[in-house]
């Protein structure tokens, strides 16, 4: 505990643009509240319009939003480009899948009968992902730059091939899950109930992440990102902060995987492909890196775009690919940046 206190919040009230800053901040808060209200209104909208598939669509949005927010924690605030984050998504899903498999055939797992209770199983799965994240992060953070990208990719691929090799659990074909987990004894079979659970988890997770990046820990992380040499010279431990961030990020991505397994009632190695890792990064960039709210929006827009394009043409990738290039080339601040900039001009 010999570390020097990290720098405190940047926008001191005396700075000349503090007023604009506060207005932008307020506008961002309104956007956020409106967004949450819209998400909560989805089940009623679906019922009113008689299109129940909307709930299913939005459940997918929300689950991926959790993963994108988690990735933003290290991508946006730590500049750690993890190209293997889908592994944690897959791991979370497979913990649920494998436990469900043993519960269904009554065989038990290392003498444990297994459980269908979300309050027990989900934290267990998330814990597993955090553990895996800590291990992978500890090894990967010895490198930086392109080597970091490649070593995280390597771990992601190792995990992918491990899943393919798990013949007992379906191998390449994946593993079907018989029933959704129960939450405190209550069934989540109703899509609306499950959707609301996902939304609540997303909101709580976003709140938590904003608390994390605004805390002393978050400031230290960002200071290491901005100027590593200087921060280390000031007494910040170079490994501890990124490692903890990586672990938290892995846990959050794992939670998304857990929810996905419950949503799709199916897990397969496809959850852990490197393309999936790339998609998660694309969601973060699209929404706006380093904003927490942005990536959640980015995930929804990305998946919405995908849904819309697939309905339109089978060859939707011909549009999505160049769209990705354009987003990278011109959309530096992301959708969230666009929205808040719009707010600033008006305000």
């Amino acid at each position: 505990m010999s570390t020097v206190a990290p720098p405190t919040r940047r926008d001191a009230p005396t700075s000349p643009d503090a007023g604009t800053h506060r207005r932008t901040h307020q506008r961002a808060r309104w956007f956020l509240l409106a967004g949450i209200a819209l998400l909560l209104a989805v089940p009623w909208f679906a019922q009113w319009s008689g299109q129940p598939f909307v709930i299913s669509l939005f459940t997918r949005f929300v689950i991926y939003a959790i993963a994108a927010v988690s990735l933003d924690l290290i991508l946006g605030y730590g500049a750690l480009v993890s190209f293997g984050h889908a592994a944690f998504f897959g791991l979370g899903g497979y913990v649920v899948g494998i436990v469900a498999f043993h519960v269904a055939d009554g065989s038990g797992l290392f003498g444990w009968a297994g459980t269908n209770e979300a309050l027990l199983l989900w934290p267990l799965a998330v814990g597993f992902c955090a553990l895996a994240g800590a291990g992978i992060g500890f090894l990967s953070l010895r490198t930086s730059g392109v080597q970091f990208i490649m070593i995280t990719l390597a771990f992601g691929q190792m995990f992918y091939f491990l899943l393919v090799g798990l013949m007992y659990y379906g191998g390449d074909d994946g593993l079907a899950i018989h029933t959704r987990n129960v939450l405190g004894g209550r069934s989540l079979r109703d899509p609306r109930a499950f959707y609301l659970v996902c939304v609540v988890l997303l909101v709580v997770w976003m709140w938590l992440c904003r608390r994390i990046v605004g805390s002393r820990f978050g400031m230290a992380l960002q200071s290491l990102k901005q100027n590593r040499k200087r921060s280390v010279a000031l007494g910040l431990a170079p490994l501890r902060y990124p490692l903890v961030a990586f672990t938290i990020s892995a846990a959050g991505t794992g939670l998304a995987g857990v929810l996905w397994a419950n949503y799709a009632l199916f897990v397969s190695p496809d959850m852990a492909t490197w393309q999936k890792s790339g998609e998660l990064m694309a969601m973060v960039i699209l929404g706006g890196m380093g904003t927490i709210v942005g990536p959640a929006l980015g995930a929804m827009v990305y998946l919405g775009l995908e849904q819309w394009l697939t309905a339109w043409t089978e060859h939707w990738m011909v549009v999505m690919g160049p769209a990705l290039v354009l987003i990278v080339l011109f959309g530096k601040r992301g959708l969230y940046g666009l929205l808040t900039a719009f707010g600033r001009r008006r305000g």
């Binding site: 480009v81 190209f83 490649m150 771990f155 491990l162 013949m167 960039i285 990738m317």
Partner: protein, 303 residues
Amino acid sequence: MLLFVEQTLNGIQYSALLFLLSAGLTLVFGIMNVINLTHGSFYMVGAFCATSAAALTGSFTAAIVAAVAGAGLYGFAIERLVLRFLYRRDHLDQVLATLGLVLFTNELVTIVFGRSPPFMDIPPLLRGSVELLPGLAYPLMRLAFIGAAAIVALALWFVLLRTPIGMRVRAGADDHEMVDALGVDVHRVFLLVFVLGALLCGFAAVMSAPLLAVQIGMGERILITAFVVIVIGGVGSVRGALLGSFLVGMIDAYGRTWLPMLLSGLLPAQLSDPLASSLISASAYILMALVLLFRPFGLLPAR
């Protein structure tokens, strides 16, 4: 013993393929500092051009020309249209933009060439096999592949180390701002290296088209392995790419033969077989992780 020789040759052949792809990749990365995931797409474009040229004309020479030209032109177009805007961006942007291009190319090739995987015959000249040792007949096509790759490697070595152009390329890799200041158009050097890399991809594609499956997504699989190779060898270093190719290729070839035997002695069959195949698929990544843990900049770093 015969099995050992045969597996060694197979390993060398796989290494040769990896080298053809990673040489261009490592130069592009070393000189322009660009992570280019599209490199594998050039390989796929080359393979599809080769198979359709062969199907149309029935001539292997036409297939070679089509593959090299197709991959080269596509590489040229990609560099001019997209990649030159990415030189000054960070790696995250490069990864995402080129990932978008990979997805685009996959779909484009599906639209142009159709979904059914094409097939290419071994040219008559290279059909049959040679008896290398008594009892060991080895396919001529595979030997030709090794030979052709060796010639390309030698040519590459000569161009890079013994010609004025090669000198500029190496200087650009060292310090491109200084080279720019000395009056060399670095962007032309960049373009040259980029297209050269794409040409090598096209050549690798046509040589491997009769041996391996030509299909959508073939580029990504081999591309990721090529990345592993250059990270093991040290990014930017052609010698490193050669060493990395050999390590990855040989481990793959030997692992395929002896790992299942080894594991089946230790574990029950239903457990050992899938474990062995997973381990072999992951072997390159395990090797890379090990190398990076002890030599974070690869075995033979460029500088």
